[in-house]
Subunit: 327 residues, 2 copies
Amino acid sequence: MQKNQSQLEQFFTEYLENQVFDREPHTLYAPIDYIMALGGKRLRPLLTLMGCQMFGRPAGDALPAALAVEVFHNFSLVHDDIMDEAPLRRGMPTVHQKYNANTAILSGDAMLIEAYRFLCQSPADASLPRLMHIFNHTALEVCEGQAADMDFEKRDDVSLPEYLRMIEQKTAALIGGALALGAVIGGASEEDAAHLDAFGRNIGIAFQIQDDLLDTFGDPEKFGKKTGGDIARNKKTFLLLKALESATPALRQELMALYSETSPALESAKIERVKAVFSELQTAASAQAAKTDYQQRAFQHLAAIDAPEEGKTVVRDFANWLFSRDV
Amino acid sequence: MQKNQSQLEQFFTEYLENQVFDREPHTLYAPIDYIMALGGKRLRPLLTLMGCQMFGRPAGDALPAALAVEVFHNFSLVHDDIMDEAPLRRGMPTVHQKYNANTAILSGDAMLIEAYRFLCQSPADASLPRLMHIFNHTALEVCEGQAADMDFEKRDDVSLPEYLRMIEQKTAALIGGALALGAVIGGASEEDAAHLDAFGRNIGIAFQIQDDLLDTFGDPEKFGKKTGGDIARNKKTFLLLKALESATPALRQELMALYSETSPALESAKIERVKAVFSELQTAASAQAAKTDYQQRAFQHLAAIDAPEEGKTVVRDFANWLFSRDV
C-alpha cells in the first residue's frame, strides 16, 4: 500500500519536526534551525519518498535521504541569497540579513555537510556509493547552474539553449536527483533510476518555463502577485530569449533597449510594451509548446520504468498537481 | 617497503598535478584551479597516505582520500579568507580578492562537494560509510571551530579550556581526521583508527601552541618573520589566556588594557610590555610544558597502535620534523 501525496507530506513534516538542528555553538547552528523552520513547499523530499516506494520499499527508508535533499536545497538558498543580496525569503529576513554574511556563509557550509550526514543515515543495504554519486553530481550541477545564472546577468548574448541548460542545472537537476536517490534506496536498477532522474529533469524544466509564463502572463488573482516582475527586473527568461530568437532585427533592438531600462517611472509602460512584443511574436504560445514538450518527454520516461502502476500514479498525480496552476 | 616522507610528498604532488580542476563553467572552476595551484605545505594529505601504509596497504590506495583532505582544507581557507577579509594567502591574492566574494562563496561550495567526490574514489573495498562518518564529523568540527574563533573575537572572557577546544576543532580535528581516513583505507580496526585520530589531534594542538610561542618568542632569523604579530593584532592565544589565568588582578587589568590598544604608534612599546608580563608570569614555560604534554599524549596513542614499527616510524619522524622549528 503506497502513500499518497498528502500522506507523504505529513510523514516528512513529522520527521522534519523531530530533527534538532540547533546545538552548540549556536552561532553556527541556530541559523540552520531558522531557515529550516521557515517552511516552503517541501516538494523535493516528497519526490525522494515517492521514488523509493515506487520500487516496493517503504517510503520511511528514504526519510534520511529526503531530509538530505531538503537541507541541501535550503543550503543553496542561504548562499544564493547572499550572492543575490536578497533581503527576504518566504516573507522573512534571509539568513545573512537576520544574522550577517559571515554567519550565512559558515552556517551554509555546515548545512551542506549536514546534508551528506543525513544521506549517510540511509539504510545500510542501500548502496552508499550510488547515493553519493548521484548526490555529488547533482550538487555540483546546482553550483554550475548558479554560476551560469550569475554569468548571464553580465551578458547580452545568452542563447535559449544556454538558458535551458542553466535552468536544468540550477533547478531541474535537483528534482531529478531527489527522485533518483529515492529510486536507488527503493532498489531500482540503474536504468530505472536514470529514467526517473530524466522524468524529474524534464518536469523541472517544464515547471521553470511555466514559472516564467506565470510571471508575465499569469492571472494576478490566481498567481497571488503582480505580473511583470521579471520584465521590470530585466531578467533573462525563456520568454525574452525566445522572443529575441524570433524577432526581426528592429524588434530585437527595441527589446534590448527596453531590457536596459531601469527607471521605476517607466516600469508600467515598459512592461506593457514588452508584453505587446511578446504577443506579436507569439512568445507565450511557443513557451507553452515547449513546456508541453518537456512534460511529454517526462511522462515517456515515467512510462518506461519497470515498476507497479500504483507508485507511478502517485508521481504522475503529483506532477499534474504541480502544473495545475496553469496560465 | 613503506615510503618515507619525501617519497610520499613526491607521490602526492604528482597525483595532484595530474588533476584537472578547471573545466566549464570557468567562473566556477578556475578559482579552484587557482587556489589548488598556490601551493602550501600539503601536510594533511601526507598524513592520509602515512595512515594507510601503516596498516599494510599501499599508500596509493589513499591518494583520492588524501586529495579530498587537501581540497577540503583549501575550501576552508577560501571561505575563512572571505570572513576574515584577508587580502593575501601564500603571498598571493585570496580568491575573493582576485575574483569577488560571490565567486569565492560558490567556488568554495563546489570545492566542498569535490572533496566528497574525491573521497568516493577510494578503493571499493574501503568502507565508504566509515570514511564518510569520519569526513562528515571532521568537516563539521572545522566549521564549529571557525564559528568559535569568530565568537571569541567579540568576547573578553574566553577561558584557556575554551581556546584549546577551539583549536582542536579548527585545526587539530582535520589532522586527526586525515590520519584516520588513511587508517580506515589501510584496513585498521576501529580502535587503531581512533588511536591514530587521537595522535593527530594531540599533535595538532601541540603544533598550534608552538605556533603561538613562535609568533611571540621565536627567533626572527629562523622564524622568517617579525615576532609580536599576535600581540599587535590583540589576538587571543594560548599565551595571553594562560597569562590572564595566572595573573594578579592588577596585572590582569593591565593586560586587558594593553589588548584593547590598536594605535600603530604604540605597537612596539605594547609588544615589549606584554612580553615582559609574559616573562614575569613564566607564560612561555607554561606553554612549552603544555606543548610537551600534548606531544607525549600523542606518542602514547601512536605506541598503542597494533601495527608494524616501520609505518609508525614514518609518522613519528614526520611529527618530530614538524616540531623541529623549536623556540
